[in-house]
C-alpha cells in the first residue's frame, strides 16, 4: 500500500483538531535536506548529508496554545500527535488569564519555489571539495598564515502547511552559503580575516559568483596585515561601517528590539525584552533623519522571503524607522492584536517542523542614501573604516552594545590609511543611530543573511537577511580589544 500523501496526513490531523472544539489549528509537514562541507587547514574535515523530516501540530484551544511534533510520519502517529497537541492546549487553557486572539488573515492557497539557476545538489561533490582545497592552499601560500577554513553549505526545505481556516501552502525553498577564512600568527598574537558569500536563497551560482578562490590571496594578506597592524588607541572616532558590518549592527540593535513579543515580555527569561516599548511607537526618535529602516520580506533571494510565514500570513514590506522616527514592529497574528493592529506583519517563523513558530526579525535593511563610500570617508578627519563582522554583545533590552569587526583601517584627513587591530566600539543604541550623518547610495547596497539567530525556549535558530549601504557615524567610543581597556 502506498504511503498517504502529505495532504492526506494534514487532513487527518486537521479533522481531529476541528472535532476537539479548538478554535484554530495548523500542521506543518517538512523535509529538509542539508549538505555541509567543511575544510580546515588544507583538508576536508567533514562532508555531511542530513535528511530531517517530520511534522508539527499547533492548536489554539480556548485561547491557549498546545504544540506537539514527531519525526515519525505515519497513520498511527499523526492522529496521536494531533490529539496530544489538543490535550496540551487544554492544559495551557486551564491556567490562562488572557486569551490569545489571532489577527485576521485571508485564506491563502499557494506554492512558493526558490528560483535556482544551478541546483547545488547537481554540482559534483568533487567540484565543491576541489574549490575548498584550492582556496585553502591559496590561503596557506601567503605570508604568516597558520590556519584556514573553507566551507560550502546549502539547505533545501520542502514544506506543506495547512490550517483549520483553509489555508494550504506548499514551499520548496533553497538557501546556500560559502566562506573562507585565514588566521595569521605574529609575535604570539593571531588574527583572522574572512570572506563570506551572504546566506541567500540562491543556488550554487551564489558560490560561483563569490569567486572564493580569487579572493583567497587578498584575504590571507589582510589577515597578516591585520595581525601586524598597530593596536587602536582608546578614544572617540568617527566610524564608516561597511554593509556586512552593518548587517550585524542592525540585527542586534534594530532588529531584536523591534520584535513585538520581546516588547510584551514573552522573552523576558531568555533573549530579553526591549527598550522600544509600545508607548514609543510613532513618537520615538530612534535615529537621525538619515536613518530609514525598511522591513522587506518580499525581496527576492532574501532568507525571510518565504512567501508566507508559519502563521500562513503573506510576507510584506513595511517601515520600522522612517526618517529617524520609530514607526513599526515585527509581529505575528498573536501579538499584533495586542497592540490593536488589524493584521500581522507576517514575521512568525519556526526553525523546523519540531519547533513552534515565534516572532522573528524581518529582513530589516537600511535605506540607501546619496553619498559614495569615498565621500563618506572624505568627510572624516580622524576615524575608522570597518569591514565585516567580529565580536558582538548587547544587553537584554538592546541599549548597550559592543561590536568589533573583521578588518579595520584608520582614516586620517579624509583618506583611508593603514590597518588597525583590536578595534572595539560601544554605545547606546538610539544615541548611536542618531549620530548617523550619511548613508551611501543604492549602488553600494549589499545583503547579508543570518541563519543562527538564537531566540526562544527551546532555543531556535532564526533566518533573515539585512541589507545596507555603508554609513557614517560620528564620535563613537572606541576601546582597544585587549587587556583591561
Amino acid at each position: 500500500m502506498a504511503s498517504p500523501s502529505w495532504e492526506e496526513f494534514a487532513d487527518l490531523a486537521l479533522r481531529r483538531i476541528k472535532a476537539s472544539g479548538a478554535e484554530y489549528g495548523d500542521i506543518r509537514i517538512q523535509r529538509s535536506t542539508t549538505e555541509s562541507i567543511l575544510g580546515e587547514d588544507r583538508r576536508i574535515a567533514s562532508i555531511r548529508s542530513i535528511e530531517d523530516s517530520g511534522f508539527g501540530v499547533r492548536v489554539l484551544y480556548h485561547g491557549a496554545w498546545g504544540f506537539a511534533a514527531s519525526s515519525i510520519l505515519s497513520l498511527e502517529e499523526v492522529p496521536r500527535v494531533a490529539d496530544l497537541a489538543v490535550e496540551i492546549a487544554r492544559g495551557s487553557a486551564s491556567i490562562a488569564v488572557e486569551k490569545v486572539r489571532l489577527a485576521e488573515e485571508p485564506i491563502h492557497c499557494d506554492r512558493i519555489v526558490t528560483p535556482v539557476r544551478i541546483d547545488p545538489a547537481t554540482v559534483p561533490l568533487d567540484q565543491k571539495t576541489s574549490l575548498l582545497l584550492n582556496a585553502m592552499e591559496a590561503l596557506h601560500g601567503r605570508r604568516g598564515i597558520v590556519r584556514s577554513t573553507a566551507e560550502v553549505w546549502w539547505r533545501r526545505d520542502r514544506k506543506h502547511f495547512e490550517s483549520t481556516e483553509g489555508s494550504v501552502l506548499d514551499c520548496d525553498l533553497l538557501a546556500a552559503h560559502g566562506a573562507i577564512s585565514s588566521t595569521a600568527l605574529h609575535e604570539g598574537r593571531f588574527a583572522t580575516r574572512s570572506c563570506n558569500t551572504p546566506h541567500l536563497r540562491k543556488g550554487y551560482e551564489l558560490i560561483e559568483e563569490a569567486a572564493l578562490l580569487q579572493e583567497a590571496p587578498r584575504v590571507a594578506d589582510q589577515a597578516f596585515e591585520k595581525v601586524t597592524a598597530p593596536a587602536v588607541e582608546n578614544g572617540q572616532y568617527d566610524m564608516v561601517l561597511d554593509s556586512e558590518h552593518l548587517s550585524l549592527t542592525m540585527h542586534e540593535s534594530c532588529g531584536h528590539p523591534t520584535e513585538l513579543d520581546r516588547v510584551l515580555g514573552y522573552e523576558a527569561n531568555y533573549a530579553g525584552t526591549s527598550f522600544l516599548t509600545t508607548d514609543k511607537l510613532g513618537s520615538f526618535r530612534f535615529g537621525s533623519p538619515h536613518v530609514t529602516l525598511v522591513a522587506d520580506n518580499t525581496e527576492p533571494e532574501t532568507l525571510a522571503a518565504t512567501g508566507y510565514d508559519d502563521d500562513g500570513v503573506a510576507c510584506q514590506r513595511w517601515d520600522i524607522v522612517r526618517d529617524g522616527l520609530f514607526v513599526g514592529y515585527c509581529t505575528n497574528r498573536e501579538v499584533a492584536s495586542k497592540i490593536g493592529e488589524q493584521r500581522s506583519r507576517g514575521s512568525n517563523r519556526a526553525d523546523g517542523w519540531g519547533s513552534m513558530p515565534i516572532v522573528r526579525i524581518a529582513n530589516i535593511g537600511l535605506a540607501p542614501g546619496t553619498a559614495t563610500l569615498d565621500q563618506l570617508i572624505a568627510g572624516v578627519k580622524r576615524g575608522i573604516y570597518i569591514e565585516g563582522q567580529g565580536s558582538y554583545s548587547i544587553d537584554q533590552r538592546r541599549y548597550n552594545f559592543q561590536f568589533g569587526g573583521d578588518a579595520f583601517w584608520l582614516i586620517e584627513n579624509g583618506k583611508r590609511t593603514h590597518m588597525l587591530r583590536d578595534v572595539i566600539y560601544h554605545g547606546i543604541t538610539p544615541e548611536f543611530w542618531n549620530s548617523c550623518d550619511g548613508v551611501a547610495d543604492r549602488t553600494f547596497r549589499r545583503r547579508y543573511g543570518f541563519i543562527t539567530c538564537g531566540k526562544g525556549q527551546p532555543a531556535q535558530s532564526g533566518w533573515m537577511t539585512h541589507a545596507a549601504s555603508p554609513a557614517r557615524f560620528r564620535n563613537a567610543q572606541v576601546i582597544r580589544g585587549e587587556g583591561r581597556s
Partner: protein, 447 residues
C-alpha cells in the same frame, strides 16, 4: 488534561532496537569502516511569561547517522526516518560521499571496542514527566509570583533520550539519558531577578526554593543607583563564575594550541590561574550531567584539567591525542571547579565578610573580544548589587565588562564550596561563588 492515549508516546529506541538498526547498516555496508550513532530525543517545555503559559510543546525526534570510510576517504549521512528503506538510502548516501571525498590525512578508524561505565543517566521520574508535570511546576512558580503581585517568565522542561554508538569493529554503546530544567525571571516593574536549575532528576529542580530566590532578587533590584564604569572588587555568584569559566573551557582546544593560536599557547604545565583552583571532570557526580561515553565512542572518565592553578590537560580529538601520545582522552561534560582550602558556606556568608564589592548574579551575552588573551565582554543581568560592610546596600545599574578570566582569576580573595550553577547560555557546572579583588567594568547601561 486526561493523561490518556495521546500522552503515551511511542517507546524510545531501546538497546536491542538500536542494535537491530545498527546491524541493518553494519551488515550491508561496503565500507572499510562503518560507524552508526543514534540520538532519539523526546522533550517537552512549558514556557510562561506575564504569569501565563505562552508555549507548551512536546517533540519527538530520532536521528540516526552513518559514517562510512574507504581507506582515508569518509562521509556521513543522517536521517530522522527509521524505516528500513530510509536507513538503506542513508547508508548508500554515506558510501557515495566517502567514495568521492578526498583523502583525509587526520582520519582515524572507529575506536576499539571497550566496556563503558554504567552511569545513572536515566532517571525514571524524569523520563515519566510529561506535559502535566511541567504545567504543575510552571503553575507553582507563577502562583508564588502572583501572590507577590510580580510577573513570572520562565520554562519547565524535561526530556528523555536514547543515545547509541556502534561500529563494524565491534564497538557498541547505548545509554538512556534524562534531563530536567527550570529557569525563572521575576519582573518587579522594571527590576528583575533570576534563578535556574538543571538536573537529571525532575524531582531536584527545587521549584519553590528557586522561585523565592528569584523573587527576592527582583525585589532587591528596584531603584538601582548608577555607579561609574571602572575596576571593582566583585562577588560573583556561581552562575556568573560558570559563565566566565565556560568560555575558558571552550578555549582549551589542542589543535589551536599546537598551531599557536590559543590563549594558552605555551602554557600547558604552567600556572594559568590562582594556585588554589582545581578544575576536574566528575562524570559520576549525581548533580552533574556525566555520561558513559561520547559521540565519538570514547569513554568519559574522571580527569583533572587544572591542578592547583596549573593547566594539565587540553581538549583533544582523537587525532591530536595520537600526536600528543594521550591514551585516555579527557572529557569535560561534568565540570567541577573548586578552590582548595575555601571555607564552606553560602553566598550570604561571603557577603558578610566583604567590605566593598559589586555582587553579580549572572552574566549575559558573553562573547570573545580577543582570542589571543581571552578578553571577553558581556553584561551583568537580573541582580547586580553594591555590597558594603557586609551588606547589600543597593541595586546598581547593569555593567558591561571587558576582562579576561585568565586575569580575573589570578587571585581569589574568598570562595565558597562548589555549588550548582546553570545559565541560559551554558551547560551545568559545580562552581564556587567567589570574591575577586578586581574586575573591569567598561560601561554602564540604562537600567
Amino acid at each position: 488534561m486526561s493523561g490518556g492515549n495521546a500522552t503515551r508516546w511511542p517507546k524510545m529506541t531501546g538497546r536491542d532496537e538500536f542494535r537491530f538498526l545498527a546491524d541493518l547498516v553494519l551488515t550491508k555496508s561496503l565500507g572499510d569502516d562503518t560507524m552508526v550513532t543514534l540520538h532519539d530525543l523526546h522533550s517537552g517545555t512549558a514556557r510562561f511569561a506575564n504569569n501565563q503559559v505562552v508555549q507548551n510543546v512536546d517533540t519527538r525526534r530520532g536521528t540516526l547517522a552513518v559514517t562510512v570510510a574507504f581507506g582515508r576517504r569518509h562521509g556521513t549521512a543522517s536521517t530522522t526516518d527509521f524505516t528500513a528503506g530510509s536507513i538503506q538510502e542513508t547508508l548508500a548516501q554515506a558510501e557515495h560521499i566517502a567514495r568521492i571525498s578526498p583523502e583525509e590525512p587526520e582520519y582515524l578508524p572507529p575506536p576499539e571496542p571497550q566496556p563503558f561505565e554504567v552511569r545513572e543517566t536515566a532517571r525514571p521520574e524524569t523520563m515519566a514527566a510529561g506535559p502535566i508535570r511541567r504545567l504543575e511546576y510552571a503553575n507553582e512558580a507563577i502562583s508564588h509570583c502572583r501572590m507577590e503581585n510580580l510577573m513570572a517568565a520562565g520554562i519547565v522542561s524535561s526530556s528523555a533520550s536514547s543515545v547509541g554508538v556502534a561500529a563494524n569493529n565491534g564497538l557498541f554503546g547505548y545509554e538512556a539519558r534524562a534531563d530536567a530544567r527550570f529557569s525563572l525571571t521575576v519582573q518587579a516593574g522594571d527590576a528583575t531577578g533570576w534563578s535556574a536549575a538543571a538536573h537529571r532528576s525532575v524531582d531536584h529542580l527545587k521549584i519553590q526554593e528557586r522561585t523565592l530566590a528569584a523573587i527576592d532578587k527582583a525585589k532587591r533590584s528596584r531603584d538601582p543607583i548608577e555607579l561609574p564604569a571602572g575596576p571593582y572588587p566583585v562577588l560573583l555568584e556561581p552562575a556568573a563564575v560558570a559563565g566566565l569559566w565556560t568560555w575558558l573551557m571552550w578555549s582549551l582546544d589542542a589543535k589551536s594550541y599546537d598551531k599557536g593560536v590559543s590563549p594558552f599557547a605555551g602554557k600547558l604545565g604552567g600556572r594559568i590561574v590562582d594556585e588554589r583552583l582545581m578544575l576536574r571532570n566528575v562524570p559520576r557526580h549525581a548533580d552533574l550531567f556525566g555520561v558513559g561515553f561520547t559521540a565519538e565512542g570514547l569513554p568519559s572518565v574522571p580527569s583533572t584539567w587544572i591542578d592547583r592553578g596549573v593547566l594539565t590537560q587540553l581538549a583533544h580529538d582523537r587525532f591530536t591525542a595520537k600526536i600528543h601520545g594521550v591514551k585516555d582522552i579527557p572529557t569535560l561534560e561534568a565540570p567541577e571547579l573548586s578552590v582548595e582550602g575555601a571555607a564552606s558556606g553560602l553566598v550570604q556568608d561571603l557577603i558578610k565578610r566583604t567590605d566593598r564589592a559589586i555582587l553579580v548574579t549572572n552574566f549575559w551575552y558573553i562573547r570573545t573580544v580577543n582570542p589571543s588573551d581571552l578578553t571577553l565582554t558581556g553584561m551583568t543581568r537580573d541582580g547586580t548589587f553594591l555590597v558594603e560592610k557586609g551588606e547589600i546596600v543597593s541595586a546598581v545599574k547593569n555593567f558591561r565588562f571587558h576582562d579576561s578570566p585568565l586575569r580575573a582569576f589570578q587571585h581569589i580573595d574568598a570562595a565558597t564550596a562548589p555549588m550548582e550553577a546553570v545559565t541560559s547560555e551554558t551547560g551545568k557546572m559545580l562552581v564556587p561563588a567567589m570574591v575577586l579583588p578586581q574586575f573591569n567594568f567598561s560601561s554602564v547601561t540604562r537600567f
